[in-house]
C-alpha cells in the first residue's frame, strides 16, 4: 500500500498558474526534491542485489561473508575474472560463446518469422486468417512443460537430443507474442504505399522487404532485443535437452558450477557478472525503443 500513496505526489495539473510568487516556486522545488529522493531511494533498494553481485565478484569469498558488511571491495580482486574463465572443467568462455550463439540464432529466426507472419496477418487476406490468428494467440496460454515431454521424444527419435538444435528451435515458441506485436505495427502503416507498389507490379515479397520492413524497424529492434534477452535467460530447455557440457549456455554452466563448487562464491559471482553484462549493454543501446514496444503489444489489442 505504501507505493499507492506515492501517486499523491503527482500534482493536479490545474496548479494555479501564478508565476513569480516566491512561495509557490519554493514549494515546487520542494516537491521536485521529494520526488527525486523517493525515486532515488527505490532505485537504491532495487539495485542493491545487483550492486552486491558486482562487488562480490571483486572480493575474496571470506570478504563476501564478513561482519560488518564491506560495501567496497578492498582491494578489488580483478583476477577473479581470469580465474573463473580458466577454471578447470568449467569452460566459461565456451559457455559464453554458446549463449551468444543460441541467443543470436533465435533472434534472427524470431525477427524473420514474426515479421513475415505478422505481415501476412496484418496486410494480406487469405481464407482462415482469423481462425489461425486466434489459434496463434491461444498457444500463449499453453504452459511449455506440456509440450516438452513429446518434444523430448521427438528430438530423441530425430537424433537431435544433445545437439545445438533444441534450444534454437524451442526458443522460437515465444513467436506468437512477437507476431502479434508486429501485426499491430503493420496495421498502422499506410495502405496507399503498398497499393501503389502493387499497381506498379511489385511482388508481395518485394513490397514486404523493400517498403514495409524498413518502416517497422523500431519494432524489429524490440523483437530482437527481447528474443536475445529471453534466450540468454533460458535455463529449463538447456537443462532438459542438452547433454554435453561443451554445449551448455552460461545459465546452465553456472548452475553446474554452483552445484559442484558451492564454496567458491567469488568466482561464481564473477561468472554471474559475465552472464549479465552483455544484456545490460544491449539494453542500454536499445533502451529508447522499449517503452514503445511494450505499449504496442498492448493489452487492448
Amino acid at each position: 500500500m505504501a507505493h499507492l500513496s506515492h501517486s499523491e505526489a503527482s500534482p493536479p495539473l490545474a496548479e494555479p498558474a501564478t508565476p513569480g510568487l516566491g512561495r509557490a516556486r519554493s514549494q515546487r522545488v520542494l516537491v521536485s526534491l521529494a520526488r527525486h529522493l523517493l525515486l532515488l531511494a527505490v532505485t537504491v533498494v532495487l539495485l542493491l542485489p545487483f550492486y552486491w553481485m558486482l562487488i562480490s565478484a571483486l572480493k575474496e569469498t571470506s570478504q563476501i561473508f564478513v561482519q560488518p558488511i564491506q560495501w567496497w571491495p578492498d582491494p578489488p580482486r580483478w583476477d577473479n575474472f581470469s580465474r573463473a574463465l580458466s577454471y578447470p572443467g568449467f569452460p566459461f568462455l565456451r559457455f559464453f560463446g554458446n549463449s551468444l550463439f543460441y541467443a543470436l540464432s533465435v533472434t534472427v529466426g524470431m525477427v524473420l518469422m514474426s515479421a513475415l507472419v505478422g505481415y501476412g496477418f496484418a496486410r494480406l487476406r487469405f481464407p482462415g486468417r482469423q481462425v489461425l490468428f486466434v489459434c496463434t494467440l491461444a498457444t500463449l496460454m499453453i504452459p511449455s512443460i506440456v509440450t516438452f515431454i513429446p518434444t523430448y521424444v521427438l528430438f530423441k527419435q530425430l537424433g537431435l537430443l544433445g545437439s545445438y538444435w533444441p534450444p534454437i528451435l524451442l526458443g522460437l515458441r515465444f513467436s506468437p507474442f512477437f507476431i502479434f506485436m508486429l501485426r499491430q505495427f503493420f496495421l498502422g502503416v499506410s495502405w496507399e504505399l503498398s497499393d501503389a507498389a502493387r499497381v506498379d507490379g511489385a511482388s508481395e515479397l518485394r513490397i514486404f522487404w523493400q517498403i514495409m520492413l524498413p518502416l517497422v524497424r523500431p519494432a524489429l529492434i524490440v523483437v530482437g532485443v527481447f528474443s536475445f534477452l529471453w534466450t540468454w535467460h533460458e535455463f529449463f530447455i538447456p537443462l532438459v535437452y542438452l547433454t554435453e557440457r561443451e554445449q551448455f549456455p552460461l545459465a546452465l554452466g553456472l548452475f553446474a558450477f554452483k552445484n559442484q563448487r558451492t564454496v567458491e562464491w567469488d568466482l561464481m559471482m564473477a561468472a554471474s557478472v559475465l552472464a549479465t553484462l552483455p544484456l545490460i549493454v544491449i539494453f542500454l543501446c536499445a533502451q529508447r525503443y522499449f517503452l514503445q514496444g511494450v505499449s504496442m503489444t498492448g493489452i487492448k489489442g
Partner: protein, 309 residues
C-alpha cells in the same frame, strides 16, 4: 478492420494471388505450430493414458496415471500446497510492486528516463543469476542477516528453515518486475490527462483522482498482468531448482509442481505419469484463468461504460 473495408477490391485473380501470398507468409509459423505445439499437445494427451519409459513403446493403461496422481502421490500434495502458497503471495505482491513502480515512473521529474532504465535492470539479470545472488544476500553470514543482527533482530535462516524458504523464493520473484511495470506504465500513459484535470477541477484531490480515475481505467491492465502472473507463477522452476535443488530443500518446502513434473519426466523417465501431471497442471491453470476472466466483468472497467470522471 475499417481499413480493410475501405480498400479497393481488386479482380478475382488479384485476390487469389493475395491469398496465396498470405498463406506463404504465414507458412513458417503454421509448420512450427503443427510440429512443436499442436502435435505435442495431442501427444501428451495420449501419453497421459499410457505407461511410457522411452525405452519401450507406450503401453495404454487407461486412467491409472490420473488415479495415481489423485490418490497415491504424497509428494504431489506437498508440491501443490507449496505452489499455491507461493502463487497466492507472490502474484498479488508482485502486482502491487509493479503498479507502485509504474506510478513512480509516471511522475513528472527531470531525468525520469534514467530511473526507468535503472528500474529495468533487475529484469535483465538471468533468473539463475538472480537466484545465486539471493543465495549470497540471504546467506546466514550474508549482508541481510548482518542488517538483521545490527538491528538486534534474529536473522531468519532463509534456506535451512522450511518456514522461511518460500518467503525467500517470493522475495526473489519480487525483484525483477520490469516487464509488468512497463505494461502498467503503458496503461497509465493511455489515460488522458484531461480526465484527471476534469476530476481536479471538480475538486478531487490526488488521492481521489487515483481511486476514482486512474485505478478504474487501469483495471484492464491489471487483469492482463494478473493473468500473466498466475500462468507464470504456477510454473516457477528456475529459481526453485537453484535454491532448493531437485528435492526442494529444506524438507521439500520448495518442491514446486513443475519440479515434480520435471523429476518424473526427465529424471525417472516416467513420461506417461509426467504427461498426466502436465495435463492436470494445464487444466488447473486454464480453470484459474477462466475464473479470473469470469470475475472480470465485476471489477474491470471497460471504456464503453465510461462514467463521467
Amino acid at each position: 478492420m475499417a481499413i480493410l473495408a475501405t480498400r479497393r477490391v481488386g479482380r478475382g485473380s488479384m485476390r487469389r494471388r493475395e491469398a496465396i501470398a498470405g498463406m506463404l507468409f504465414v507458412a513458417p509459423w503454421v509448420i512450427y505450430l503443427l510440429v512443436f505445439i499442436a502435435y505435442p499437445v495431442l501427444a501428451v494427451l495420449y501419453l497421459s493414458f499410457t505407461e511410457y519409459t522411452i525405452l519401450e513403446p507406450p503401453r495404454l493403461i487407461g486412467l491409472d496415471n490420473y488415479h495415481r496422481l489423485l490418490t497415491n502421490d504424497p509428494a504431489l500434495r506437498i508440491a501443490v500446497g507449496n505452489t499455491i502458497y507461493y502463487a497466492l503471495l507472490a502474484v498479488p505482491l508482485r502486482l502491487l510492486l509493479a503498479l507502485g513502480l509504474a506510478l513512480l515512473m509516471n511522475m513528472r521529474a527531470r531525468g525520469i528516463a534514467v530511473y526507468r532504465a535503472l528500474f529495468y535492470v533487475p529484469s535483465l539479470v538471468p533468473p539463475v543469476v538472480g537466484a545465486i545472488i539471493f543465495l549470497v544476500l540471504l546467506n546466514p553470514s550474508g549482508p541481510v542477516s548482518g542488517i538483521f543482527t545490527a538491528l538486534g533482530l534474529p536473522a531468519p535462516r532463509w534456506f535451512s528453515d522450511p518456514a522461511w524458504s518460500k518467503p525467500a523464493l517470493i522475495l526473489l520473484y519480487l525483484w525483477p518486475v520490469g516487464v509488468e511495470t512497463l505494461v502498467f506504465l503503458a496503461g497509465l500513459k493511455e489515460i488522458p490527462d484531461s480526465l484527471r484535470d476534469a476530476a481536479a477541477i471538480d475538486g478531487a484531490g490526488p488521492w481521489q483522482q487515483f481511486w476514482r480515475v486512474t485505478l478504474p481505467l487501469l483495471t484492464p491492465t491489471i487483469l492482463f498482468n494478473l493473468v500473466i502472473g498466475v500462468i507464470y507463477s504456477f510454473q516457477v522452476f528456475d529459481q526453485a531448482i537453484v535454491i532448493g535443488g531437485s528435492n526442494g530443500e529444506p524438507l521439500e518446502s520448495t518442491l514446486m509442481v513443475m519440479m515434480h513434473i520435471y523429476r518424473h519426466a526427465f529424471r525417472y523417465f516416467a513420461m506417461g505419469y509426467a504427461s498426466a501431471l502436465g495435463v492436470v497442471l494445464v487444466l488447473a491453470i486454464l480453470a484459474l484463468t477462466l475464473l479470473i476472466f469470469g470475475t472480470a466483468r465485476r471489477w474491470v472497467h471497460y471504456e464503453a461504460d465510461e462514467r463521467g470522471a
